[in-house]
Symmetry: C2
Subunit: 332 residues, 2 copies
């Protein structure tokens, strides 16, 4: 088996994953010839539809529906993993550069047997099962002591990098923590050292009082457009209770989160004609979950604009919308 | 006039620009209804073609061609500026958040009167004029003491965020330096403090000796695929002489840079069927140009893959190609 590799960018401190199962030849990337990564809309050959079920797929978890006659949500190993637990996590030098093999886990959460559904159109009880599944896999993956960070994310639509329409999310567990993440931890640490408070709790309380950017809230969660949103109609969903670790979410919180997630995504679905989007659950890396300065949240980013050279080069975003206007639009 | 705003993301330390001239209503971002930002291929109504010239446009610099009868390259104020020099650069607090008005400059370099050309198909003498133009505007913009950073970049094709086909690049001068940039400076500073050498010079020398990632070199520049390339066929062009500041490029270097830039982009153009790409000239922010640890370079990123939720959430890239394979493909 060809092994994967993770390489460190010496000038930015960021890691890049090179995965053999996702590899293509340079000529396959030619403009206008990307049939191989065409977005698969049809359910005829959908690998996640039960009728086309691959008996050899590695099922990691399966939740039956109420009638117990069929799976409702299941987790399978990604057939084209970015990271692979058959590899090792040993670092080494390649000349002047830091490198390691591609250790990690890459799983797919097939959210429903129904090819046509998405979070916005699933029932709350179905979404509760999805969130419970996230939590179960998160806790399971964190038992692997090599794993430093677990990223739970969803790509919806071709413009958001999805290759299949069937409703699914993904979980990647890695033994590296990127400097991107460490930078956010350092900002939160500095804020805590100054104010002795969690910066996320302060944002949360400010937004709830201020109201202009809030979309919807319930007893345990608030959904709002962040003050410095990078994308039009970007949404953050945050637990009101201080909590760094998504893994410690309670069953009451799971119900409240499922409710506000469906509500928020339904607003995008209805008001923006089912836009492409990504969401990611930002939760503490290993060893950070017990510290007081971090706070997990779900970040939803509609993909309705194209970042260009200025954004790539500077890291500064240009958002052609206004958070307060977006919030009012999504709220009403 | 409605004023722009730049807001600081309190948890990442990154800035986001909200520009009134680029503003749209949230409903205008609906999926599949983005006619307003359609890519303009045709030259019939191209605002950069001489026949459609807008007499009211603000020309900042114009270079005549050899026959002196017509402009060859010209710089105009962007009609939809991300930043505006009519505003001010005063910071203030909005509740708990840092904000400022949208001070800065945003210019367009119209590279040629010929609508159909691009860098890959222009002559070296024409590209020399473009690079000279970059340098002139860079030096002019840095005379404005409010400006902390100048970003010179090019968006080629719709997938790279371009809205017009006519060959052009852009220059944005801002009074903010993003944490993205400060992070790179800190990495270079730490390397210098350890080794007493510029990390970019070390990379340059390693790559020239190692050869496997080099695409082409001349006396003054080398073009290579970086060891931890984020994108398939990503290319860095770097001056061999240690030099932090693009503004100090000599006329001999301009010729060598124009030659290797055309060569590198022609390889992409020919081998990948004129792919969409961005390039950006990474040069030192104000006050950093005299320090020994930085080195300017041109970063070319073809846009042949779509970053998804994992990349947005973690800052880790997944590159489905291999730098050494890409370099061999582009070299041969």
């Amino acid at each position: 088996m060809e092994t994967g590799q993770i390489r460190l960018n010496k000038v930015t401190g960021e890691w890049v994953i090179y995965a053999p199962s996702r590899r293509k030849r340079p000529q396959d990337f030619q403009q206008n010839s990307q049939d191989s990564i065409a977005f698969k809309q049809s359910q005829n050959h959908c690998p996640f539809c039960s009728d086309n079920e691959n008996k050899s797929e590695q099922v990691l978890l399966e939740i039956k529906n109420n009638q117990q006659d069929h799976w409702q949500t299941k987790v399978v190993a990604n057939k084209f993993p970015a990271l692979n637990f058959h590899e090792n996590s040993k670092r080494s030098l390649e000349g002047i550069y830091m490198t390691m093999s591609g250790y990690g886990h890459h799983e797919v959460v097939i959210e429903s047997p129904d090819h046509q559904k998405t979070i916005a159109t699933l029932s709350i009880s179905e979404i509760i099962v999805i969130i419970e599944t996230y939590q179960k896999r998160y806790l399971k993956l964190m038992e692997d002591k090599e794993i430093m960070m677990v990223i739970i994310f969803r790509n919806h639509g071709k413009g958001a990098g999805a290759s299949l329409r069937h409703p699914h999310s993904q979980i990647i567990a890695s033994s590296i923590v990127p400097s991107h993440r460490r930078l956010q931890e350092a900002e939160a640490q500095r804020y805590f050292d100054h104010w002795a408070r969690c910066v996320y709790c302060d944002i949360l309380n400010f937004e709830i009082n201020e109201k202009s950017r809030v979309i919807v809230e319930n007893k345990l969660f608030v959904s709002f457009v962040p003050f410095a949103a990078e994308f039009p109609c970007e949404i953050w969903i945050m637990p009101k209770q201080h909590q760094a670790d998504f893994g410690s979410i309670t069953s009451e919180e799971i119900t409240a989160f499922a409710t506000i997630l469906k509500d928020s995504l339904s607003r995008l679905y209805n008001k923006l004609n089912n836009p492409d989007y990504n969401y990611v659950i930002n939760t503490a890396a290993r060893y950070k979950a017990e510290e007081p300065q971090l706070h997990w949240y779900c970040q939803i980013r509609p993909r309705l604009t194209t970042p260009a050279g200025f954004e790539l080069g500077s890291g500064i975003s240009i958002n052609p919308s206004i958070p307060e206007v977006d919030a009012a639009f999504l709220r009403d």
